[in-house]
Symmetry: C2
Subunit: 157 residues, 2 copies
Protein backbone atom coordinates (compact mmCIF):
# COMPACT_ATOMS: atom_id res chain seq x y z
CA UNK A 1 0.00 0.00 0.00
CA UNK A 2 2.20 2.86 -1.20
CA UNK A 3 1.75 6.33 0.20
CA UNK A 4 1.32 8.72 -2.69
CA UNK A 5 3.18 11.41 -0.82
CA UNK A 6 2.48 14.39 -3.01
CA UNK A 7 1.77 17.90 -1.78
CA UNK A 8 0.79 18.42 1.85
CA UNK A 9 -2.88 18.39 1.07
CA UNK A 10 -4.89 18.78 -2.07
CA UNK A 11 -8.19 20.38 -2.75
CA UNK A 12 -9.39 17.38 -4.69
CA UNK A 13 -9.26 15.21 -1.61
CA UNK A 14 -11.72 17.38 0.25
CA UNK A 15 -14.07 18.94 -2.27
CA UNK A 16 -16.83 21.26 -1.14
CA UNK A 17 -19.74 19.20 -2.27
CA UNK A 18 -23.34 18.67 -1.35
CA UNK A 19 -22.01 18.02 2.11
CA UNK A 20 -21.67 21.66 2.95
CA UNK A 21 -18.50 23.56 3.56
CA UNK A 22 -15.77 22.20 5.82
CA UNK A 23 -16.21 23.14 9.45
CA UNK A 24 -13.43 24.64 11.51
CA UNK A 25 -12.55 21.11 12.61
CA UNK A 26 -11.48 20.04 9.14
CA UNK A 27 -9.89 23.41 8.46
CA UNK A 28 -7.60 22.94 11.43
CA UNK A 29 -7.01 19.26 10.92
CA UNK A 30 -5.84 19.42 7.33
CA UNK A 31 -2.98 21.88 7.77
CA UNK A 32 -1.97 20.28 11.06
CA UNK A 33 -1.69 16.92 9.37
CA UNK A 34 0.30 18.56 6.61
CA UNK A 35 2.73 19.88 9.21
CA UNK A 36 2.99 16.45 10.82
CA UNK A 37 3.78 14.77 7.53
CA UNK A 38 6.39 17.37 6.67
CA UNK A 39 8.11 16.91 10.02
CA UNK A 40 8.32 13.15 9.61
CA UNK A 41 9.41 13.47 6.00
CA UNK A 42 12.31 15.79 6.82
CA UNK A 43 13.35 13.72 9.82
CA UNK A 44 13.49 10.56 7.72
CA UNK A 45 15.41 12.31 4.97
CA UNK A 46 17.98 13.63 7.37
CA UNK A 47 18.95 10.44 9.10
CA UNK A 48 16.34 10.25 11.83
CA UNK A 49 14.46 7.45 10.15
CA UNK A 50 14.03 5.52 13.37
CA UNK A 51 11.44 8.06 14.54
CA UNK A 52 7.74 7.71 13.87
CA UNK A 53 4.59 9.64 14.66
CA UNK A 54 4.31 8.24 18.17
CA UNK A 55 7.81 9.37 19.07
CA UNK A 56 7.07 12.73 17.54
CA UNK A 57 4.40 13.34 20.14
CA UNK A 58 7.04 13.29 22.84
CA UNK A 59 8.97 16.04 21.06
CA UNK A 60 5.89 18.21 20.74
CA UNK A 61 6.07 21.78 21.87
CA UNK A 62 7.37 22.66 24.35
CA UNK A 63 9.46 19.52 24.25
CA UNK A 64 10.44 16.98 26.90
CA UNK A 65 13.64 18.63 28.10
CA UNK A 66 13.87 18.54 31.91
CA UNK A 67 10.30 17.29 32.18
CA UNK A 68 9.18 14.65 34.64
CA UNK A 69 7.73 11.60 32.91
CA UNK A 70 4.46 11.89 34.77
CA UNK A 71 4.21 15.54 33.81
CA UNK A 72 4.82 14.66 30.16
CA UNK A 73 2.23 11.90 30.34
CA UNK A 74 -0.49 14.22 31.54
CA UNK A 75 0.52 16.82 28.98
CA UNK A 76 0.08 14.23 26.23
CA UNK A 77 -3.04 12.80 27.89
CA UNK A 78 -1.72 9.26 27.94
CA UNK A 79 -0.94 7.00 30.88
CA UNK A 80 2.47 7.30 32.44
CA UNK A 81 3.12 3.67 31.53
CA UNK A 82 2.49 4.45 27.87
CA UNK A 83 4.73 7.47 28.03
CA UNK A 84 7.42 5.52 29.79
CA UNK A 85 7.32 2.99 27.02
CA UNK A 86 7.94 5.76 24.48
CA UNK A 87 10.74 7.21 26.60
CA UNK A 88 12.31 3.77 26.72
CA UNK A 89 12.28 3.60 22.94
CA UNK A 90 13.71 7.08 22.57
CA UNK A 91 16.38 6.30 25.14
CA UNK A 92 17.30 3.09 23.35
CA UNK A 93 17.52 5.03 20.08
CA UNK A 94 19.78 7.59 21.68
CA UNK A 95 17.53 10.63 21.67
CA UNK A 96 17.29 11.18 25.40
CA UNK A 97 18.13 9.85 28.83
CA UNK A 98 16.10 9.47 31.99
CA UNK A 99 18.08 10.86 34.88
CA UNK A 100 17.22 10.91 38.55
CA UNK A 101 15.69 14.15 39.75
CA UNK A 102 18.13 15.66 42.28
CA UNK A 103 15.25 17.24 44.21
CA UNK A 104 12.99 14.21 44.45
CA UNK A 105 14.30 10.70 44.87
CA UNK A 106 11.14 9.20 43.39
CA UNK A 107 11.22 11.25 40.23
CA UNK A 108 13.20 11.31 37.00
CA UNK A 109 13.92 14.03 34.53
CA UNK A 110 14.25 13.76 30.79
CA UNK A 111 17.54 14.99 29.35
CA UNK A 112 17.85 15.31 25.59
CA UNK A 113 21.04 13.99 24.05
CA UNK A 114 22.80 15.78 21.23
CA UNK A 115 20.92 13.55 18.80
CA UNK A 116 17.64 14.51 20.45
CA UNK A 117 18.44 18.18 20.19
CA UNK A 118 19.34 17.75 16.52
CA UNK A 119 16.05 16.01 15.84
CA UNK A 120 14.15 18.88 17.40
CA UNK A 121 16.10 21.30 15.24
CA UNK A 122 15.04 19.36 12.14
CA UNK A 123 11.45 19.45 13.32
CA UNK A 124 11.58 23.19 13.82
CA UNK A 125 13.17 23.67 10.41
CA UNK A 126 10.46 21.57 8.81
CA UNK A 127 7.77 23.72 10.39
CA UNK A 128 9.60 26.88 9.40
CA UNK A 129 9.72 25.57 5.85
CA UNK A 130 5.99 25.02 5.66
CA UNK A 131 5.43 28.40 7.28
CA UNK A 132 7.38 29.99 4.46
CA UNK A 133 5.23 28.21 1.90
CA UNK A 134 2.04 29.35 3.57
CA UNK A 135 3.36 32.84 3.87
CA UNK A 136 3.89 32.90 0.12
CA UNK A 137 0.47 31.47 -0.45
CA UNK A 138 -1.41 33.90 1.77
CA UNK A 139 0.92 36.86 1.59
CA UNK A 140 2.99 38.02 4.55
CA UNK A 141 0.34 40.25 6.06
CA UNK A 142 -2.39 37.63 6.05
CA UNK A 143 -0.05 34.93 7.27
CA UNK A 144 0.93 37.11 10.20
CA UNK A 145 -2.76 37.61 10.88
CA UNK A 146 -3.32 33.85 10.86
CA UNK A 147 -0.54 33.26 13.32
CA UNK A 148 -1.78 36.01 15.58
CA UNK A 149 -5.34 34.68 15.53
CA UNK A 150 -4.23 31.14 16.34
CA UNK A 151 -2.02 32.47 19.08
CA UNK A 152 -4.85 34.49 20.58
CA UNK A 153 -7.05 31.43 20.40
CA UNK A 154 -4.59 29.34 22.39
CA UNK A 155 -3.41 32.08 24.66
CA UNK A 156 -6.13 33.17 27.05
CA UNK A 157 -8.47 30.75 28.85
Amino acid sequence: MPKTSSSPFTKSEYPDQAFGPPLIGALLRMPWEAVQRRMLERLHEQGFDDLDAAHLNVFQYPGPQAAKPSELASRLRISKQALNYLLGELERLGYLERRPDPDDLRAKRVALTRRGTSAIAVIRDAVAEIETEWEQQLGPRRFAQLRKLLHDLSGPQ
Copy 2:
Protein backbone atom coordinates in the same frame (compact mmCIF):
# COMPACT_ATOMS: atom_id res chain seq x y z
CA MET B 1 -5.22 7.14 35.37
CA PRO B 2 -7.96 9.75 35.44
CA LYS B 3 -8.23 12.24 32.61
CA THR B 4 -8.42 15.70 34.15
CA SER B 5 -10.77 16.85 31.43
CA SER B 6 -10.92 20.53 32.17
CA SER B 7 -11.12 23.24 29.53
CA PRO B 8 -10.17 22.34 25.96
CA PHE B 9 -6.65 23.58 26.35
CA THR B 10 -4.96 25.79 28.83
CA LYS B 11 -2.19 28.29 28.54
CA SER B 12 -0.44 26.86 31.55
CA GLU B 13 0.13 23.58 29.80
CA TYR B 14 2.14 25.21 27.04
CA PRO B 15 3.90 28.20 28.49
CA ASP B 16 6.04 30.42 26.31
CA GLN B 17 9.30 29.81 28.06
CA ALA B 18 12.96 29.77 27.22
CA PHE B 19 11.96 27.43 24.44
CA GLY B 20 10.79 30.18 22.19
CA PRO B 21 7.27 30.84 21.06
CA PRO B 22 5.08 28.05 19.76
CA LEU B 23 5.45 27.43 16.04
CA ILE B 24 2.50 27.18 13.72
CA GLY B 25 2.54 23.44 14.29
CA ALA B 26 1.59 23.71 17.94
CA LEU B 27 -0.80 26.54 17.21
CA LEU B 28 -2.75 24.33 14.84
CA ARG B 29 -2.46 21.19 16.89
CA MET B 30 -3.82 22.56 20.12
CA PRO B 31 -7.17 23.84 18.85
CA TRP B 32 -7.58 20.81 16.60
CA GLU B 33 -7.13 18.53 19.58
CA ALA B 34 -9.62 20.64 21.49
CA VAL B 35 -12.15 20.11 18.71
CA GLN B 36 -11.49 16.38 18.72
CA ARG B 37 -12.03 16.12 22.43
CA ARG B 38 -15.22 18.11 22.25
CA MET B 39 -16.62 15.87 19.51
CA LEU B 40 -15.93 12.72 21.49
CA GLU B 41 -17.27 14.26 24.67
CA ARG B 42 -20.58 15.24 23.09
CA LEU B 43 -20.94 11.92 21.31
CA HIS B 44 -20.43 10.02 24.53
CA GLU B 45 -22.86 12.24 26.40
CA GLN B 46 -25.53 11.77 23.80
CA GLY B 47 -25.62 8.01 23.65
CA PHE B 48 -22.88 7.32 21.11
CA ASP B 49 -20.47 6.04 23.72
CA ASP B 50 -19.41 3.09 21.59
CA LEU B 51 -17.46 5.43 19.32
CA ASP B 52 -13.82 6.30 19.88
CA ALA B 53 -11.20 8.42 18.18
CA ALA B 54 -10.40 5.78 15.57
CA HIS B 55 -14.03 5.56 14.47
CA LEU B 56 -14.19 9.32 14.41
CA ASN B 57 -11.60 9.37 11.66
CA VAL B 58 -14.01 7.57 9.38
CA PHE B 59 -16.64 10.25 9.93
CA GLN B 60 -14.17 13.03 9.14
CA TYR B 61 -15.14 15.61 6.59
CA PRO B 62 -16.46 15.01 4.04
CA GLY B 63 -17.75 11.81 5.59
CA PRO B 64 -17.97 8.24 4.33
CA GLN B 65 -21.39 8.43 2.71
CA ALA B 66 -21.40 6.68 -0.68
CA ALA B 67 -17.63 6.34 -0.60
CA LYS B 68 -15.78 3.25 -1.76
CA PRO B 69 -13.75 1.66 1.03
CA SER B 70 -10.52 1.91 -0.93
CA GLU B 71 -11.22 5.58 -1.63
CA LEU B 72 -11.79 6.20 2.08
CA ALA B 73 -8.62 4.34 2.93
CA SER B 74 -6.46 6.51 0.72
CA ARG B 75 -8.20 9.63 1.99
CA LEU B 76 -7.31 8.62 5.56
CA ARG B 77 -3.87 7.40 4.50
CA ILE B 78 -4.30 3.99 6.04
CA SER B 79 -4.33 0.59 4.37
CA LYS B 80 -7.61 -0.65 3.00
CA GLN B 81 -7.38 -3.58 5.39
CA ALA B 82 -7.22 -1.20 8.34
CA LEU B 83 -10.11 0.82 7.01
CA ASN B 84 -12.15 -2.27 6.37
CA TYR B 85 -11.60 -3.28 9.96
CA LEU B 86 -13.00 0.05 11.11
CA LEU B 87 -15.93 -0.24 8.74
CA GLY B 88 -16.62 -3.67 10.14
CA GLU B 89 -16.75 -2.23 13.64
CA LEU B 90 -19.00 0.63 12.59
CA GLU B 91 -21.27 -1.76 10.72
CA ARG B 92 -21.47 -4.03 13.75
CA LEU B 93 -22.34 -1.02 15.90
CA GLY B 94 -25.05 0.00 13.48
CA TYR B 95 -23.58 3.21 12.10
CA LEU B 96 -23.30 2.17 8.47
CA GLU B 97 -23.61 -0.63 5.97
CA ARG B 98 -21.36 -1.80 3.17
CA ARG B 99 -23.48 -2.29 0.07
CA PRO B 100 -22.43 -3.60 -3.32
CA ASP B 101 -21.67 -0.91 -5.85
CA PRO B 102 -24.23 -1.24 -8.67
CA ASP B 103 -21.72 0.01 -11.22
CA ASP B 104 -18.77 -2.19 -10.26
CA LEU B 105 -19.16 -5.76 -9.13
CA ARG B 106 -15.84 -5.67 -7.29
CA ALA B 107 -16.60 -2.57 -5.29
CA LYS B 108 -18.73 -1.64 -2.30
CA ARG B 109 -20.20 1.61 -1.17
CA VAL B 110 -20.68 2.89 2.36
CA ALA B 111 -24.24 3.77 3.30
CA LEU B 112 -24.83 5.56 6.59
CA THR B 113 -27.67 4.29 8.71
CA ARG B 114 -29.96 6.63 10.61
CA ARG B 115 -27.72 6.16 13.63
CA GLY B 116 -24.70 7.08 11.58
CA THR B 117 -26.35 10.21 10.30
CA SER B 118 -27.33 11.17 13.84
CA ALA B 119 -23.77 10.73 15.03
CA ILE B 120 -22.52 13.03 12.30
CA ALA B 121 -25.11 15.60 13.34
CA VAL B 122 -23.80 15.45 16.90
CA ILE B 123 -20.28 15.91 15.61
CA ARG B 124 -21.27 18.93 13.58
CA ASP B 125 -23.11 20.40 16.55
CA ALA B 126 -20.07 19.90 18.75
CA VAL B 127 -17.91 21.76 16.28
CA ALA B 128 -20.49 24.50 15.91
CA GLU B 129 -20.49 24.82 19.69
CA ILE B 130 -16.75 25.31 19.91
CA GLU B 131 -16.91 27.72 16.98
CA THR B 132 -19.35 29.83 18.96
CA GLU B 133 -16.99 29.88 21.91
CA TRP B 134 -14.08 30.94 19.77
CA GLU B 135 -16.19 33.55 18.07
CA GLN B 136 -16.93 35.06 21.46
CA GLN B 137 -13.29 34.88 22.40
CA LEU B 138 -11.94 36.51 19.26
CA GLY B 139 -14.92 38.60 18.28
CA PRO B 140 -17.05 37.87 15.24
CA ARG B 141 -14.94 39.81 12.78
CA ARG B 142 -11.65 38.19 13.76
CA PHE B 143 -13.21 34.74 13.93
CA ALA B 144 -14.52 35.17 10.39
CA GLN B 145 -11.02 36.20 9.38
CA LEU B 146 -9.58 33.08 10.97
CA ARG B 147 -11.99 30.83 9.15
CA LYS B 148 -11.31 32.57 5.87
CA LEU B 149 -7.57 32.30 6.29
CA LEU B 150 -7.74 28.60 7.13
CA HIS B 151 -10.05 28.06 4.20
CA ASP B 152 -7.71 29.86 1.84
CA LEU B 153 -4.87 27.81 3.18
CA SER B 154 -6.63 24.54 2.40
CA GLY B 155 -8.36 25.69 -0.72
CA PRO B 156 -5.85 26.28 -3.52
CA GLN B 157 -3.04 23.85 -4.25
